[in-house]
Assembly symmetry: C2
Homo-oligomer: 203 residues x 2
DNA sequence: CGTGCCCTTGACCATTTGGTCAAAAAGAAA
DNA sequence: TTTCTTTTTGACCAAATGGTCAAGGGCACG
């Protein structure tokens, strides 16, 4: 009945501008640290105008987060139980690293939400996320049992992939500070992580 | 001359209480998201009283961060160039994981500062941190060259240790949500990471 | 026990913040 | 062009925020 479907061209465009600006601001300062003024300015709208498209600061944040979860899990969904275990997992690592390269703000937004205790998405974690991870963990367990993959805890293996790839987006400043100028962190990470996981995954 | 050394017992005690409370609040909400009122309340002091011990919100944050850097790097300093490569590095992993267990708030405070671009500690990163890491990276390179350690990029190896261990403090909510109740993430991580790094480090 | 210093606080302040509202401006439809 | 709806905004508001200040309370020490 009251499905919020039909959107004007203007609505479509301005909501997108708001979300784009909000992604920038939220990912830099976290939810509490972000201000509507800053988002509005960066979106090129007045504050009341911004609140014409989203009823509250929280709605913007939640909208952003919701849109993000799927994007975030897609690479894991693509893991094919019918494929070659090592190649499937190495491809997953590559896809996740690619996301750190292409969507660093999204990664940091996500990271901040989790670090701060995920007050606005705990449900999603314990349901959707857990369900998908459990499913894929079962696949990994099967591979291990069949001797096609090292006998490692599948959940922690998945954590290790998340952690190692997202690190290059979330801790970018630190990584660059330590490596010094002239080095391209993620290019190097691609080589490093490929070698690392080849060793880790071999049966 | 104007060294801020001599501190009353009361000063010592109340500064400590403030820092303790601030650690809690900053690690939960980040710098901008934290409020003096919240810190004051949690410290059991009035706001003006709090500002008697620290001149500003920023000074509290900086004090916290400064005190943290050393603690954070100590485990790496302990890496002994004279020891057995694999055992030295595995011990480093264990020490870092122990810090995730014992000092999760400190880890999250640190993480938030980095994720937000390290506006209050960029210098420290590019100087102190880089210097120590470069030094230890040289040790690792030597080990690799001598065939006592896998031939991996030493900087990225160190990043991988940071990332994999701190993940269990910083992303605790997510890890627990995915694992479900009744599992002790860091206990499991100890086993998992030991196995992982044995494979990664072997020459 | 008095004196001087350290500590504490209630009252206060300017600014910022998330959010409202009525009215004007700009489209869209006729 | 007229009418009706969608967008946009200036003015406004209550609450929160970082921070100040003068005055009162406590404590140590002679």
């Amino acid at each position: 009945m009251s499905s919020p479907k039909t959107r004007t061209r203007i609505q479509e465009k301005n909501r997108a501008r708001v979300l784009e600006a909000a992604l920038d601001v939220f990912s830099r300062h976290g939810f509490r640290g972000a201000t509507l003024d800053e988002i509005a300015t960066e979106a090129g709208l007045s504050k009341p105008n911004l609140l014409y498209y989203f009823v509250s600061k929280e709605e913007i944040h939640v909208t952003l987060l919701e849109g993000l979860v799927d994007t975030w899990l897609d690479p894991l969904r693509d893991l094919d139980a019918g494929g070659d275990p090592q190649e499937e997992l190495l491809a997953y690592v590559r896809r996740k690293l690619q996301m750190s390269r292409d969507l660093p703000r999204e990664s940091r937004l996500f990271a901040q939400e989790i670090v701060q205790g995920a007050p606005r998405m705990k449900d999603g974690l314990a349901t959707d996320l857990k369900a998908l991870v459990d499913e894929k963990a079962e696949v990994l367990r099967g591979w291990s049992a069949a001797g096609r993959l090292a006998p490692v805890d599948p959940h922690h293996l998945i954590f290790s992939i998340w952690s190692l790839t997202q690190h290059y987006a979330d801790f970018d400043v630190q990584v660059r500070a330590v490596l010094g100028e002239g080095r391209e962190p993620i290019d190097e990470a691609e080589v490093f992580l490929d070698a690392l996981f080849r060793r880790v995954l071999a049966p």
